[in-house]
Symmetry: C2
DNA sequence: CGCAGTCCATACTCAGTCGTATGGTAAGTC
DNA sequence: GACTTACCATACGACTGAGTATGGACTGCG
């Protein structure tokens, strides 16, 4: 983290390509992940790329794996430290609502679900998160069957919100409106 | 509707191309909408296509417009006939849950939100539906501010469900599980 | 019958992108 | 100081898919 941040005249590593690929995906989607375009972004040519990766798909695969591993567990592990189980879900909602960059990547990957490589990754990540929600709902007092469906509903609402207000830029919520929406979600989805 | 249904040796019209394009989008997404592939599907060559449309984008545009106009208003108009306003939302949920083909198209379009042509169409359709939900929630007794947020939450849950269980094929719900999920949605989102 | 308009086939051009082949340069290593 | 290794540039081949040019076939109409 000391000298490889800036795109100066440094040599590149495979990790640099993966990070740049993830950023490009967040900005323009998986479809825009072209080898030469990414090389131009990094100030080099294709020759560099094909030294680090065997193919374009290999880069995408490595990038997705990196995202799947490093993308989660910051929030989830913090939430589990909260003592009162009934306080975890509201706190989770509010913390997630204040993120930004992780949602960008996730939203970009949602738009790339026609690509066979991203489907299993998104399936694993989404089901893990849903399972986390399910246990949280159970700890909050919901019956097992209700907890499962409530977790599905909650995560579906999250995904749909990303598509509608993030990708689609639909209602263009103001900051206050967004906060009110989050509080409405909490009041509606979380058992009192 | 008498002789233009079957793909026999008939001549084609622009409408035939648009309908075939919509079906192909529903099956394989917008990215798979290629001129020659669609021509093979219809049993002709590109020469036919470029007589009816100036470009590939023109076909996509026309197809999206057709979908936007003819895609809705079947269910919505039927729902408005229900006398008791408090019965409309549960009935809407259950009817929508029993559809299939419209969801296919909508889900395919959700995956194509990186294409600039589909964004405004999806924005219009989605906001119209959300507004319909908002008035329904108001008629069901919710306060205006709550009705708006509840409508957003409901439609986001719908969109997210499509992505997760349709496109992603996530939990692979059985028929009974799906019905239970719908009833859980009704119990959670609709005021008693 | 002949002609014009409609619809389609064939054969191209052109641009974008993946992947390869090969040579070049800077930094270490003995 | 020669030699290896890591990284990159350049040039090329091949494929894919959009769009064009042009001619042929069928149909209705005078």
């Amino acid at each position: 983290m000391n000298a490889t941040s800036k795109p100066e005249r440094n040599r590149l590593s495979a990790e640099d390509w993966e990070l740049a690929a993830l950023q490009l995906i967040a900005e323009q989607g998986v479809g825009a992940l072209a080898v030469e375009a990414l090389a131009r972004r990094l100030g080099v040519t294709k020759g560099s790329f094909y030294w680090h990766f065997r193919t374009r798909e290999a880069l995408l695969q490595a990038t997705l794996e990196r995202w799947e591993q490093y993308g989660e567990r910051e929030i989830i592990s913090q939430i589990e430290l909260i003592a009162d189980p009934r306080e975890r879900l509201p706190e989770l909602f509010r913390r997630v609502a204040h993120e930004l960059q992780p949602h960008r990547v996730y939203a970009a990957l949602l738009k790339a679900l026609d690509h066979p490589l991203v489907v299993p990754v998104m399936a694993r990540v989404s089901s893990r998160r849903t399972e986390f929600l399910e246990t949280a709902y159970r700890q909050a007092g919901l019956a097992p069957a209700d907890a499962l469906n409530r977790a599905r509903l909650t995560y579906a609402a999250y995904v749909g919100f990303l598509q509608l207000n993030f990708t689609l830029g639909l209602p263009r919520l103001s900051h206050d409106e967004f906060d009110a929406y989050v509080e409405h979600m909490i009041a509606t989805l979380i058992p009192a």
